[in-house]
C-alpha cells in the first residue's frame, strides 16, 4: 500500500488518522461519515484534516442520529461505495444496533452474496479516560455474538494502522473497536510495513508458565502484569487476539496446549462477556492439555462506574496476578 508517511513515532490516534487518509487517497469509493468528523476532526481527532483535504463529499458531518448514519452508510454501500462510519462513543452506537444486527450483519447472506456491505464501523470503546457514564462501555459482546460481522480491535499503534486499512479493504462489514485509552500512547509506526490480515492473533510476549489471552485496552495491562509476575517466579506469555471475529483458534490453541494454563483478560463485564467464549472454546479444544481451568479476569458485572471509581472496576496487574496464582501450581 502507498502511504502518506514514512516510518516515525506516532500515537494510535495519529495512526488511525493516517490509515483513513491513506484509504481515502487510494480508493475513491471510501467515504467517511459521522458526527463532528468534519471541521472538528472528531472528538478524538481521528478524522483531523480529512474534510479539509478531501472535501465534505468524502468526509461528511452528518446530522446527529446514529441509526441514520449507519442506515445511510448501508445505502451507500449498496451502490458500491465503501463507507467508514464513526460512532462517537461506545454507548452512542446503541441507537444503530437495529441497523447493525438486522441489516449490516445480514445483507450479504440475505441476498445470496449479491449485496455485500463493505462497511467499517469505528467505535471508540472502553474506559480508563475518566469519562462520565455512557462514555466508557466495553460493548464488544454485543458485536461478537452477532453472526455476519467481523470484530477487530487493535492493541498497538502499528496494528491500529494496519488493521484499520485491512478492515476498510475488507468486503465484509467490520466493527472496528478502538481502545480509547490507548489513543495517545506513542510507538513506532511504519505504514509501509506489511499488514497482517484480519483474523490472526499474535504472541506479544513468550513465556513458559502460563498465557494471558487479551486484546485492545487490556494488552498493556497484561504486559505489565507479565513483567510484575517475574518477581513471583512466573514467566507469562501474552497473546493479543487483535481480531475477535473470526477467531484465531489455531494460534490460541497452539499456545494454550503448549503451556497448559491460561487466563483471559478484558475490561468488559465478565458475565456473558467475550472472555466466556474464549474460555469455553479453548477448554473444548484443549481440555486434556489444561492443568487448571481457564480463568477470567474482567470488569465486574455492574454498569460502568463514575470516573473516580473506575480504577476499582478495571482489571489491574494485581487482579491478574491473583488469577495466575489460582492456576493450581501445586498440581
Amino acid at each position: 500500500m502507498t502511504t502518506s508517511v514514512s516510518p516515525r513515532t506516532a500515537s494510535m490516534a495519529q495512526a488511525l488518522n493516517s490509515a483513513l487518509r491513506d484509504a481515502l487517497r487510494e480508493d475513491p469509493t471510501v467515504h467517511v461519515l459521522g458526527e463532528d468528523v468534519g471541521a472538528l476532526g472528531g472528538v478524538f481527532r481521528i478524522t483531523d484534516g480529512l474534510t479539509a483535504e478531501f472535501g465534505p463529499d468524502r468526509c461528511l458531518d452528518t446530522p446527529l442520529a446514529e441509526a441514520g448514519i449507519l442506515g445511510t452508510a448501508i445505502g451507500m454501500a449498496m451502490y458500491g461505495l465503501r463507507p467508514v462510519v464513526e460512532m462517537q462513543f461506545d454507548a452512542f452506537a446503541y441507537p444503530a444496533l437495529e441497523q447493525l444486527f438486522s441489516h449490516v450483519a445480514k445483507m450479504r447472506n440475505r441476498t445470496a452474496g449479491k449485496l455485500p456491505l463493505p462497511i467499517t464501523v469505528r467505535i471508540p470503546y472502553g474506559g480508563g479516560i475518566g469519562g462520565v457514564e455512557h462514555h466508557s462501555d466495553a460493548s464488544e459482546a454485543y458485536y461478537t455474538s452477532t453472526p455476519g460481522l467481523h470484530v477487530v480491535t487493535p492493541g498497538t499503534v502499528a496494528d491500529a494502522y494496519g488493521l484499520l486499512r485491512a478492515s476498510i479493504a475488507s468486503d465484509d462489514p467490520v466493527v472496528f473497536l478502538e481502545p480509547k485509552r490507548l489513543y495517545w500512547g506513542k510507538d513506532e509506526l511504519d505504514p509501509a510495513a506489511p499488514v497482517e490480515p484480519i483474523g490472526t492473533a499474535v504472541l506479544r510476549r513468550t513465556g513458559t508458565s502460563a498465557v494471558l489471552i487479551t486484546y485492545g485496552p487490556s494488552l498493556p495491562v497484561c504486559l505489565a502484569a507479565a513483567e510484575a509476575a517475574k518477581a513471583e517466579g512466573w514467566d507469562l506469555a501474552v497473546l493479543d487476539l487483535r481480531t475477535l471475529v473470526p477467531f484465531d483458534d489455531e494460534t490460541v490453541c497452539r499456545v494454550v496446549r503448549s503451556l497448559g494454563r491460561a487466563v483471559v483478560v478484558h475490561e468488559a463485564s465478565g458475565f456473558g462477556g467475550t472472555g466466556a467464549e474464549i474460555a469455553a472454546r479453548v477448554t473444548e479444544r484443549c481440555f486434556h492439555h489444561l492443568a487448571a481451568p481457564v480463568l477470567r479476569v474482567t470488569g465486574f458485572d455492574i454498569p460502568y462506574p463514575p470516573p473516580m471509581l473506575e480504577h476499582h472496576h478495571l482489571p489491574g496487574v494485581d487482579r491478574i496476578l491473583d488469577a495466575v496464582a489460582r492456576l493450581q501450581w501445586e498440581d
Binding site: 467515504h31 472535501g55 465534505p56 463529499d57 461528511l60 452528518t62 446530522p63 442520529a65 441509526a67 441514520g68 449507519l70 442506515g71 445511510t72 452508510a73 448501508i74 445505502g75 451507500m76 454501500a77 449498496m78 451502490y79 458500491g80 461505495l81 463507507p83 441507537p95 437495529e98 441497523q99 438486522s102 441489516h103 445480514k106 445483507m107 450479504r108 447472506n109 440475505r110 441476498t111 445470496a112 452474496g113 449479491k114 449485496l115 455485500p116 453472526p147 455476519g148 467481523h150 475488507s170 468486503d171 465484509d172 483474523g199 471475529v245 473470526p246 477467531f247 483458534d249 489455531e250
Partner: protein, 380 residues
C-alpha cells in the same frame, strides 16, 4: 466541485441574533388541504391515453396477482402473504414512476410493486414462500430486498440516492413505507438526512388506515402524515391513493424534482388495506364491515375503469386483454409455485461472509456429515 458545499454556504448557525423570520418559507412545503385527485376531473383529459391504459392494465394484473398469492397461502404454497389488495394504485404507480436506473426500496407489503417493476413473481415471493430471504438480484433489478424491520429501508434509500448523486449519476430512490412505519425513529432520521443532504429520494407512505390492528387515529394525531414534511424542510404531498393517475402524477413530479437536484419529497397516499394484515391475521377483531365496505366502493380499479370508459380511452377489448394477461400471470404463478423449491442446506454457510470462516467451514462439515448419515439411514 463537491456536491455538499451548499450546506456550508447557508447561514451558520442558521439564525442570527434578533432574527425575525424562519430560514425558509414553510408555505410551499405544506400539502394542499385536500388530496390530489384526477379521476373524474377535467384534468384527466390532459393525460396520455396510453399511460392511462398502461396504469389500468397493471391495476387489473396487480389485483389478480394479489388474489392468486392469497390463494397460494391457503394451499400452503406461500408461508404468509401481506396482500396489497385495494392498494394496487400505489403499487403500480410507484413502479411506473421510476426509470430503469432508479432504485425501489419496498416493504414486505410491496411485492406487487416489485413484480410490476419486472421481477418474476417466483423470485419476488421467496421470502414469503419461505425458501430464501431474497429471491431476486437487487443490483440487476435495482430493487432492494423486501424490508421487514419497519422504516429501516428509508435511510438505505437516502444513502443509495446520495451515493449516486456523489457519482453524478441521475438515479432516484423511492422508499415505500406504511402509516405505522412513520412512527419509527428511522423514518425521522431518514427524512432529516435526505433533506439536509438534498438527496434525490422520494418517500411514499401508503396510509392504508392500519398498522396491523392499530388505526391511524392511535398512530398519529397529525393533520396528515404529509404534514410531517415541513418539519424536515421538504415538500409534503397528499394524494388519493386509490386514484392511480393522481398517484402516478404526484410521484412522477417528485421523482423528476429529485432527479433535477430539487431534493426529497414526502408523499402520503390515502388508501385502505381491504384484506387483513396477512392471511394469518383476523381483522374482525378490530374493525367493522361497514368501514371496509365503504372502501371497497372506493376501489382503485372500479374508479379507474369508470373514469377511463367515460373518457373513452377504455373499451371492452382492452378490458378483456388486461383480464387475459392477468389470468396468464395467475396461471404461471400456480404452475411455478406448485413445484417444490430447490433447497441447498449448505447454502446456509455460503454467504455469511465473502469467505467462510474456519468456524463456518467446521460447522458446514458437521452438517454435511449429518446429512450424509441421514441419507444412509433413509436408503436402508
Amino acid at each position: 466541485m463537491t456536491v455538499l458545499d451548499h450546506r456550508h454556504r447557508t447561514p451558520v448557525p442558521g439564525w442570527m441574533p434578533g432574527a425575525t423570520a424562519p430560514r425558509t418559507d414553510p408555505a410551499p412545503l405544506l400539502p394542499d388541504p385536500s388530496p390530489v385527485r384526477l379521476l373524474g376531473t377535467p384534468a384527466l383529459e390532459k393525460y396520455e391515453p396510453a399511460l392511462l391504459r398502461e396504469l389500468y392494465r397493471r391495476l387489473v394484473v396487480g389485483r389478480r396477482y394479489n388474489q392468486q398469492a392469497t390463494t397460494l397461502t391457503k394451499q400452503g404454497r406461500l408461508a404468509v402473504y401481506p396482500a396489497s389488495t385495494g392498494q394496487e394504485a400505489c403499487q403500480v404507480a410507484a413502479a411506473l414512476a421510476l426509470g430503469e436506473q432508479d432504485w425501489l426500496f419496498p416493504s414486505y407489503r410491496d411485492t406487487l410493486a416489485v413484480v410490476s417493476r419486472g421481477v418474476d413473481p417466483l423470485e419476488a415471493l421467496t421470502l414469503l414462500r419461505g425458501s430464501a430471504h431474497t429471491g431476486y438480484d437487487p443490483r440487476a433489478s435495482r430493487t432492494a430486498p423486501l424490508c421487514t424491520p419497519l422504516a429501516t429501508q428509508a435511510p438505505h434509500a437516502v444513502g443509495l440516492a446520495h451515493a449516486a448523486r456523489l457519482r453524478g449519476e441521475p438515479v432516484v430512490a423511492l422508499a415505500m413505507l406504511g402509516d405505522g412505519g412513520t412512527s419509527e425513529g428511522d423514518f425521522h432520521e431518514a427524512l432529516n438526512f435526505a433533506a439536509v443532504l438534498g438527496a434525490p429520494v422520494v418517500f411514499l407512505v401508503q396510509n392504508n388506515g392500519y398498522a396491523i390492528s392499530v388505526p391511524l387515529s392511535a398512530q398519529s394525531a397529525a393533520p396528515s402524515l404529509a404534514h410531517k414534511a415541513v418539519g424536515y424542510g421538504m415538500p409534503g404531498r397528499l394524494v388519493d391513493g386509490n386514484d392511480a393517475p393522481a398517484v402516478h402524477a404526484v410521484l412522477t413530479e417528485a421523482v423528476e424534482r429529485a432527479r433535477t437536484g430539487g431534493g426529497p419529497t414526502l408523499v402520503e397516499a390515502l388508501t385502505y388495506r381491504v384484506e387483513a394484515h396477512t392471511n394469518a391475521d383476523d381483522a374482525t377483531r378490530y374493525r367493522d364491515e361497514p368501514e371496509v365496505a365503504a372502501w371497497r366502493e372506493h376501489d382503485p380499479i372500479l374508479l379507474m375503469e369508470h373514469a377511463l370508459r367515460e373518457l373513452g380511452v377504455l373499451d371492452d377489448d382492452l378490458a378483456q386483454e388486461a383480464a387475459d394477461e392477468a389470468e396468464a400471470l395467475a396461471a404461471r404463478m400456480r404452475a411455478e409455485f406448485h413445484a417444490d423449491p430447490e433447497l441447498d442446506p449448505m447454502s446456509l454457510f455460503a454467504h455469511v461472509y465473502a469467505e467462510p470462516t474456519a468456524q463456518l467451514r467446521e460447522q458446514a462439515a458437521q452438517l454435511a456429515e449429518e446429512l450424509a448419515a441421514e441419507a444412509e439411514v433413509s436408503e436402508q
